[in-house]
């Protein structure tokens, strides 16, 4: 009796320590990020930091082109990936016969395991030339090339999560739709997909989180020119993302320099953006739920 109570206590403590240390480590990373990044605010004037020019060698640390570059590439990628991924999820879950689903599901999950550097190769050697020839751009290394590769990377996550969301819609919804004389397609688009909306939003957000944080593949195919992507055809020109900037410049920067702190500050901005995306998604879902539009 005494013995078992002691082992109970030991296991409980162990789990508690492990749990807290995981949270603690994440918190430490954040603290580290703040410690290394915040000094930039005292070293660089705010208008400079939020400016339109990123030329660290000449003391210009404007992160605006990098932020816009990331946003442009990511939003375009999700805009392509969402309809494609949703259609695939609907096909796999609702339309494909059982044997096809058994083949397709694992294949989609394998796609998620392709290393991003391999996708970078693929982008450089296959997609970039295709973009240059088909869209007639000066170079194949453009924002749209990055978006296409990111689409490819985001799809497996998006499809898997959206498919799970569709799967979680009770079978009785299908019956209810069909029983009202809806065809299979009407049931899917007007009953099942709306009922799975919160899961589909989550899928899009996860995919967006993955896309905006992706570094290697994007760095290999977007051309990495830190310029403002504000022209109407910005998608067809090179851009540089926040992640690519940090990855490319971190190796050759002097520790403790202004440039070094600026790179960490980019990390903070990235963190804030990702956090904001997640909060917005969560809020949208909860608001809908309160109004009862979703289950």
């Amino acid at each position: 009796m005494h013995n078992s109570r002691w082992s109970e206590f030991a296991v409980e403590s162990l789990i508690r320590v492990l749990g807290f240390s995981t949270v603690g480590l994440v918190a430490l990373i954040f603290v580290f990020l703040l410690r290394e990044g915040l000094p930039v605010l005292s070293e660089v004037a705010l208008p400079n930091f939020l400016g339109r020019a990123w030329y660290p060698t000449f003391g210009s640390f404007g992160i605006l082109p990098l932020v816009l570059g990331s946003v442009l590439v990511t939003v375009t990628a999700i805009a392509i990936a969402l309809p494609l991924g949703l259609a695939t999820a609907v096909f796999v879950r609702e339309v494909a016969p059982g044997w096809a689903r058994e083949i397709l599901k694992p294949m989609i999950e394998v796609l998620a395991g392709i290393p991003s550097v391999v996708l970078g190769f693929f982008g450089m050697t296959m997609v970039a030339p295709w973009v240059r020839q088909t869209l007639g751009t000066a170079t194949g290394l453009t924002a749209i090339t990055g978006s296409l590769i990111l689409t490819y990377m985001a799809l497996p996550t998006l499809i898997s999560v959206a498919e799970d969301a569709l799967d979680a819609v009770p079978k009785s919804y299908r019956d209810a739709g069909l029983a009202m004389g809806a065809t299979q397609w009407q049931t899917i688009w007007r009953v099942i997909v709306p009922a799975a909306r919160s899961g589909i939003v989550t899928a899009a957000m996860l995919a967006m989180g993955r896309a905006i944080g992706e570094t290697m593949a994007v760095m290999m195919v977007t051309g990495n020119a830190a310029r403002m992507p504000t022209e109407w055809d910005a998608l067809l020109r090179p851009v540089r993302t926040m992640t690519a900037t940090v990855a490319a410049e971190m190796g050759e920067v002097a520790k403790g320099s202004t440039h070094y702190h600026a790179l960490f500050a980019i990390g903070i901005v990235l963190f804030v953006i990702t956090f904001a995306i997640n909060m917005t998604a969560a809020r949208a879902i909860f608001a809908k739920r309160r109004r009862g539009g979703l289950r």
Partner: protein, 259 residues
């Protein structure tokens, strides 16, 4: 119940020698049953008797289930509903169905009721309003929801949700209404309200219901059919089945000796 000049029952649905199996398991073993028009027919008996399967066959909801085998015929107004070329969507609009669990779809009360008509291509606003109030009144829920038609359907109580589902089926002006244990998840007061709305509908619709208890079967039935292990043991007008059953098995079940 509607009878013709010679006093014979008019039949809406005729089921002939119906066999149905899921894989190797036969759940309906040669059912012959004629369902009277404009009356409440109850299909009752212990669980696993094939009642729900039979309901789902009447509006072809089981079409999507894999690995099933069916022989025999089901005719609606004399038409074989499994004949090749049958329009399944229009069949399902003629034969509405309400399920065991109340199942409001995402959206408002108004949207729920008008789901079916809108899917069928109804656009006229005045006509929609008319359908809305008529179906909600028929389902005996109008007075409770008329001031909040644009509230989320999920915020209704369970009993209200179920009557909303009945209204949703009625919005399509079906000829037949199938109900699969429509009160199994409801409290006694809500149950009474649902039964009340069925009572109001019994002269205008052909209603087939799987009740959730023998008591309910006896309360709502004009005509009753007793199912046991996939076989139809006995069927007839309610008085006969619940007070003077011919089969010993029916009597045992009705008097509560098993089930």
């Amino acid at each position: 119940m509607v009878t013709d000049a010679e006093g014979l029952l008019k039949h809406k649905i005729c089921i002939d020698n119906l066999h149905y199996s899921y894989g190797d398991e036969e759940v309906l073993k040669g059912i012959n049953l004629d369902i009277p028009a404009r009356a409440v027919t109850v299909l009752f008996g212990p669980a696993g008797g094939g009642k729900t399967t039979l309901l789902r066959l009447i509006n072809r909801l089981n079409d999507m289930v894999d690995g099933t085998k069916m022989t025999g015929t089901i005719r609606l107004d004399g038409q074989d509903i499994y004949a090749p070329g049958t329009e399944i969507s229009s069949l399902r609009r003629r034969v509405g169905m309400v399920f065991a669990l109340p199942l409001p779809l995402p959206g408002t009360i108004r949207e729920n009721v008008l789901y079916g008509p809108r899917l069928a291509g109804m656009k006229d606003a005045a006509q929609c309003e008319e359908i809305l109030s008529r179906s909600l009144q028929q389902a005996a829920i109008w007075d409770e929801v008329k001031d909040r038609l644009d509230d989320a359907a999920h915020r209704l109580s369970g009993g209200q949700q179920q009557r909303l589902c009945i209204a949703r089926s009625l919005a399509l002006e079906p000829e037949v209404l199938l109900l699969d244990e429509p009160t199994s998840g409801l409290d006694p007061i809500s149950t009474a309200k649902v039964e009340e709305s069925l009572f109001a509908l019994r002269r205008d619709y052909t209603i087939v219901i799987v009740p959730h208890s023998v008591q309910q079967a006896a309360r709502v039935a004009d005509y009753a059919a007793f199912f046991l292990m996939g076989e139809l043991i006995e069927h007839g007008p309610d008085k006969q089945l619940f007070t003077a059953p011919k089969e010993p098995k029916t009597e045992e079940y009705v008097t509560g000796r098993f089930g």
